[in-house]
Symmetry: C2
Subunit: 379 residues, 2 copies
């Protein structure tokens, strides 16, 4: 870090450089290790532990007994979650609690919950004292393989999803398979959908693993077994590999954006009744069909994508796909978000992706025909 | 940027590194150069130009005629300023405008106004698409030497100042002395107070310059003259020098925090009727007296600080200093904000600073006697 005056006529110049580094580890949250992890991360400073209503209901008592017992000064605070609470108001609530609790810069926010909770907690941490540390502990499969690993956080404003956001790397990510036991089968499938997406887009090994043993995650007693952990860890490693190359998204052509072009519009149009993972599955499937019709993905590739979704009991059809204006608007939004080029990820083969930049390569007829084909294939 | 697995037992690790670099340049905003600066920064993308009511009233017509004429697609948007509008609501307003305007990631926010406006615009830019570029153009002396150069931005929540914030380096800072002509003498003195602070804390050359010719900035016709520009540029370079060593404030002992320990409480207690610069001047003067009574700053040093303030017509007394509980609460807040140590900057000599870390070194009697001495010296 230094200042210099090498621009002709500049009064001064400032260079800044910011580095971060974090580990994703397995640890038992509901037993002692969480406390010692936090102690070492915060050097004994108190942590503000934020939990979702679900975590409070199922695990609140146990968490409190290890986190705030005896000399521990950690505070456990409950916030409301769900898409409508992913708001600036929730962030302000956490900032005010942290302020009242006199959290210092070297203290820590700890989020324990699903993706929405982690997004809110990360965003509050990014703003408190202009950046305080945080620990992410995902309690759903989707959160463990996706939101917890990401360095993105943010909230919605009105109906605009993630309109306010930041990149804020956590200090640590803790994965605990014990949480998965109580996740509903529908929510497990949402996590599996993101895992399939990653496999299709970037990681054929993960895809094969899901074909082989993905269903194990549907069995609540087996979700913390070694083979289940291996699948989750593989998914996390795949995600980290994608992030490592491009953490701040300077390159807007991102393979992990597969399944995230039409899906935001589907979610919004259902008032967020359609869960994120289900919307992503539909989008991945449609992308695979489009790719196949464009001659990019071969028939065997398309079949294996659709078969894997089918095998895991993940739906690939939504009636809103027949709302053509909705799809066109979603493509418009993607263009604006991705620096005025479409950058639509399409599978080239399992684990390999190409990007379509030009809207002209996606004529309305292609989209209509692809939707019709997907409808038929999904029946 | 790479991921690795070198922590024993870690599923994965992620390292991130983020670099930024910006120039602070003089340019004429109200003539053509602004347009070409923006064109080169945004590569022709539209900019969202945000102005304060004062800028709108005095310069709005001229700005619009150069920014949105003919083929330019820049949008000029007015937001309300003042401490009470430095809020999450103002940030949300800008994010919604940017979204409606379909600003892309490679577009630019441009803030033209005082410190409050620049703080709001910078914070909105830091959040839009998780970080969009912005250009800072300060129109007051205080904004030009302080807020515009800083990489900090943020807003208040309720009565908690800057409770939500971020570090977000701008793409460019443009300084235009033409704006200073219309700044009130009182506001010019607020800017001078921050310049004096920087001189006392870190830059004896700047201090001498202010002794020699600081009053030139009080003459509205001379504010854009060469000697005035030299003073402003010296102040900006001094500030950049401080920031360059410690842009993200990992070191919480900051010389530029001189005058920023008691002043936030004074401002808050007056409902922000007391301007920031005037509060800073009082705090700097009290710090100098305390330092003198502790045997750190010699009598000559103390006299020169008080004389410079007097010479520039800047008050160094406020009756709220006699509210001892207010001062104690301000010291408590500083400790919480500075990582649980006081880190009170005190002048050792002109341009040199020491830090007092321990509250025990500031017994109540010392503070009371210093307040009494300052009151007498300020009469």
């Amino acid at each position: 870090m230094r200042s210099d005056y090498d621009r002709e006529g500049a009064i001064a110049s400032l260079r800044t450089e910011r580095r971060a580094r974090f580990d994703i580890v397995r640890s038992s949250v509901l037993a002692g290790p969480l406390v010692s992890e936090l102690e070492s991360l915060t050097k004994g400073r108190p942590a503000l532990v934020v939990v979702s209503p679900t975590v409070e209901r199922i695990y609140g008592h146990g968490l409190r007994s290890i986190l705030v017992s005896g000399r521990r000064r950690n505070l456990v605070h409950l916030i409301q979650t769900g898409e409508k609470n992913k708001s600036l108001e929730s962030v302000a609530e956490l900032l005010e609690i942290a302020n009242k609790f006199r959290l210092s810069r070297d203290a820590m926010f700890v989020g324990i919950g699903g993706g929405v909770l982690l997004d809110i907690v990360g965003f509050a941490a990014s703003q408190f004292r202009r950046g305080t540390g945080h620990v992410k502990i995902g309690t759903t499969l989707l959160a463990q393989v996706d939101a917890a690993v990401s360095i993105k956080c943010g909230v919605n404003i009105g109906t605009s999803k993630n309109l306010a956001g930041a990149f804020h790397p956590p200090e640590r990510v803790i994965v605990d398979g014990a949480f998965l036991r109580t996740v509903s089968e529908r929510d497990i499938r949402c996590g599996l959908a993101e895992m399939v997406k990653l496999g299709v887009a970037a990681d054929s090994g993960l895809f094969e693993g899901l074909v082989r043993s993905g269903r194990i995650l549907l069995d609540s007693d087996a979700r913390d077994s070694d083979p289940a952990r291996e699948l989750v860890d593989a998914s996390i490693r795949g995600m980290v590999g994608e992030l490592a190359e491009n953490p701040f998204e300077h390159d807007l052509s991102r393979r992990v954006d597969l399944g995230h072009t039409i899906s935001p519009a589907l979610e919004a149009a259902t008032g967020y009744k359609l869960p994120h993972g289900e919307a992503v599955a539909v989008d991945v499937a449609l992308s695979a069909v489009i790719s196949n019709r464009m001659g990019i993905l071969d028939d065997m590739g398309l079949d294996s994508v659709l078969e894997l979704f089918r095998g895991l009991g993940i739906g690939t059809w939504h009636r809103l796909l027949e709302d053509f204006a909705l799809i066109e608007a979603a493509l418009d939004d993607a263009e604006a978000h991705r620096g005025r080029r479409l950058r639509l990820p399409l599978p080239l083969a399992i684990g390999r992706t190409v990007f379509v930049d030009d809207r002209e390569d996606l004529p309305p007829s292609l989209i209509r025909e692809s939707v019709a084909q997907l409808r038929e294939a999904s029946e």
